[in-house]
Subunit: 540 residues, 2 copies
């Protein structure tokens, strides 16, 4: 009966409606347009949104997609800010929205894990733990509280606690394959296996990694490990007022990660990054000119008490472990920072009540430190926050609304996230290259540098702009391309890609060929997220 692409799509939509109910097949134009809108220019349209409520429904959705050769693009919460939100890589795709699958299926206080579905958000998991009076902490990212826990993990995102490497702290996936088959990874393949939620590798080849940054399967469930709240937590905060102080900082911090003194990420932001976290673009001081630089930036740095480089991190352990970590951090950073401060819940309580007195006695303007640290302080304890979302409104001329939605509000945001060895000279080279490219294109180089592992720094460079300003989309896209080109040439590869840059992956190396071989075997009709992290092949 079907002939031509349009009617195949129509037939598929009819079958999905029968399967899921019409209320779970979204076809109204405003919704489709919203779903096709992200924080940078895209041309893809969205042909529909389907919303299964269970892995069995996801399986059936994929079988229908195969029958009618319709491309399906899975999203969890769809809040992949800076990398493309919900927008599919291939044009005319159907978005498969997993947000209705938001059950927390298993939880163990004793073994410190939770088993959940892709619709579970940061705030939902946080509330779940608080309600139970759990002594376990989740790891949160600085993205919005409505972000999916699994979605971020599948993009191999990272957070702020010792469990910051999300993909390294999950196991036991349930995966729906492109053809609609369903598998369980790790020990989950054996009915009744006791170690499914606690052991990553299972027995035999490990396929979990295949389903991250991928278009080879939909993870419909996994187990995420949680961190027992430590007896003691302290945040550390430092500032470096030397513009060329970065290499020494990195080289001082690396040994502390390598020897286990620092158990979590240390985040370093440059001056632009912190200004951006604290306020919107200084339109007035800059007389409407961009980019921000020169005396106005110097003045802001001074007024806001910001260094060229500003770091934050957490110390976790018993009272004595934390005290020793404090000693070691202080020793390592001596002479390398202009200011180093430690902060705990008690100090925050006192400062909140007697801020003037506190300042008088200690000489420390805690209220100010708090303003800088606040959004990060909670994150280091696994508490999600909506605060960083405001910074996306940087170049807007009106303040961020109470319910920020960068897609809707025309905020421009592109993230480029290269990885560097945690070595001063490398990180320095990366940061200065990134800065010069952004300034050349007229954007502020907001750069964060995170020691995500013992040997690695993840750099996130934000291109933040106002999409309502004519030609800015094109300029931002040009800047992104230049950034990707020049950093790749120097050997700094991104750890994650935006939907607009998937073609930047090499397609003729052996690795890409292996991925394509596996993709073809698992998804013969190429219906799952064509082009995502793998150059698309023509559809059959």
């Amino acid at each position: 009966m079907a002939s031509g692409i349009l009617s195949a799509l129509e037939e598929a939509l009819a079958e999905w409606s029968t399967l899921l109910g019409e209320e779970n097949v979204v076809m109204d134009l405003p919704s489709l347009r919203a779903a096709a809108t992200t924080t940078f220019a895209t041309r893809q349209t969205v042909a529909g949104i389907i919303r299964p409520a269970s892995s069995v429904e996801v399986q059936e959705c994929m079988r229908i997609a195969n029958r009618f050769r319709v491309a399906v693009y899975p999203v969890s919460s769809g809040k992949n800010w800076g990398y493309g939100s919900r927008v599919p890589v291939a044009d005319s795709s159907i978005i498969l929205d997993l947000s209705r699958m938001n059950r927390i299926l298993d939880f163990s206080e004793e073994l410190a894990y939770v088993t959940l579905e892709p619709g579970v958000t940061q705030e939902q998991l946080y509330a779940f733990l608080v309600e139970r009076g759990s002594r376990l902490w989740m790891d949160a990212t600085g993205s919005s509280p409505e972000c999916s826990m699994i979605g971020n993990t599948m993009e191999r995102g990272f957070g702020h606690t010792p469990y910051g490497d999300h993909f390294a702290n999950v196991c036991g996936f349930e995966v729906v394959l492109p053809t609609g088959e369903r598998i369980e990874t790790g020990y989950g393949r054996f009915a009744g296996a006791k170690a499914t939620p606690v052991y990553r590798w299972g027995v035999g080849p490990v396929v979990d990694g295949l389903f991250t940054q991928s278009n080879m399967g939909i993870v419909t469930r996994l187990t995420m490990w949680l961190m027992p709240a430590p007896e003691c937590f302290e945040a550390l905060y430092f500032r470096c007022d030397k513009e060329d102080g970065l290499p020494d900082l990195i080289d001082a911090l690396r040994p502390l990660r390598l020897n286990g003194t620092l158990r979590s990420s240390i985040h370093i932001g440059n001056d632009y990054k912190i200004v951006n976290a604290l306020r919107q673009y200084p339109w007035e001081e800059m007389n409407g000119q961009t980019p921000l630089r020169g005396p106005v930036l110097d003045e802001l740095r001074k007024r806001l008490n910001i260094g060229y480089w500003n770091g934050a991190g957490g110390l976790y352990g018993t009272r004595k472990q934390v005290a020793e970590a404090r000693r070691l951090v202080s020793k390592a950073l001596k002479g390398k920072v202009s200011k180093l401060q430690f902060l705990d819940d008690q100090k925050i309580r006192i400062a909140g009540r007697f801020s003037g007195v506190y300042r008088l006695v200690t000489g420390w303007d805690l209220a100010h430190t708090l303003e800088v640290l606040k959004p990060v302080y909670g994150l280091m304890k696994g508490i999600p926050t909506a605060k960083p979302m405001e910074s996306v409104y940087w170049r807007k001329k009106t303040p961020a609304p109470a319910q920020p939605d960068p897609d809707r509000d025309g905020c421009g945001l592109l993230w480029f996230s290269p990885i560097s060895p945690a070595r001063g000279q490398d990180v320095d080279r990366l940061a200065s290259l990134g800065s010069s490219v952004l300034l050349d294109f007229g954007f502020e180089p907001m750069i964060s540098l995170t020691l995500i592992g013992d040997r690695t720094v993840a750099c996130v460079i934000s291109i933040a702009y106002d999409r309502d300003v004519p030609d800015e989309d094109a300029r931002a896209a040009g800047c992104y391309s230049a950034l990707q080109r020049s950093l790749s040439e120097e050997g700094y590869q991104p750890y994650r890609l935006g939907i607009q840059s998937m073609d930047g992956l090499r397609s003729e190396d052996g690795y890409s060929q292996v991925l394509r071989t596996i993709k073809n075997a698992l998804d013969p009709h190429n219906v799952m997220a064509p082009g995502r992290y793998l150059a698309a092949k023509a559809r059959v």
Copy 2:
């Protein structure tokens, strides 16, 4: 020209000889028989051994294997003791021996890694680090110093330092696929990428796990992370004299791993395991009877100062970190152990010189503790040891030779290694089930329990016997099957398989089907290690 399997094999051997030189194609019967001999009964014959010296040669070897449809079984050092040594899973295979590829290709003291080939052994890497005066420690296993570092990692083996989970501490694989293609994983696929040796995930889907416990590729190079020597190291040693003391021990240790106080594995051995480590079977006291049990075992426990449960672990850090860890361990184990002792290099030096005086002053028979701890003490500092190999001669009536070779000497050894959640009741159930099965079959249940992760215990149950005793091979095989059956039924799955038990993996679940789909795509003629960790399909 070729007709029939034999002449295809002959032709392939002729091509391999041309490629590698005749000296690297081993065909003499004694060598082939030795290679087909492991520590338990097998029927597979070995059709030849080929010894490439580079990944380019490995590629060419695989192309020849495909041309003539000859099954090739890759081994690194071939010392996969207890799991099948070098013996291929499929009959009439060619062993592809990687031991000539033993170069150390890259090393960074600063970023703490080494890049090596599969022929590099534990003792070779150790010597390399000592020669350079490196401040880095490798992780070693209790297997022989001639074991391959990569071989163990590919079997997802574990060691004794904070880097004990080997697969979790490697990246940047070079892999030769079954068809002879060569790929690089992680960032290695991008020429000049700076983070190749320090970042595991690269960008896009991660395939590394596919090549562990697998027959889908030969890892011909990888980067292994090393641990900076801590300022201070102390070993802890405890003994529990209550037969039912195990659950409390596990429940006391788990929180210490979860909160980061213990950074490495804790190994617990039952009484049998320690007796086995210290001496051969007490034939005389037992009047030639087996298994060891009853009064003779009680007497041995007493005489050798062994508890029902005996643990060892390492504390790593600064002086103060170690002191705090000592305090926390002491507190957690109070009332749960009969004896808890700490040991460092200085104590060992003193005891070596004035053992009598030391005992008099401290009341601690350090010399005895040392005898128990010695092989493990070095391992906890990443020093390989040949000592544990001797224990494989347990049931032999002559002592282990200076150069032990369990395959050659008719030592019987089967290892079954299930994983349990690190929870007292589970570990206890696992250990007692395992014990009763072994005793039923007339073997001593030597059991080690290792907290390999924050939430998991790996249990290694040894079936140690004398292959020269008639019918013992069959009895051991029966015991192994019963063990696998009864533990699997209770939910305890092995983390690793012996070559005789690969069929124990489920073959009809979705996971196996996905593996088979990928295997078929990557190895269309099924020439690489057929049957290894995946039920074999008929060869084309």
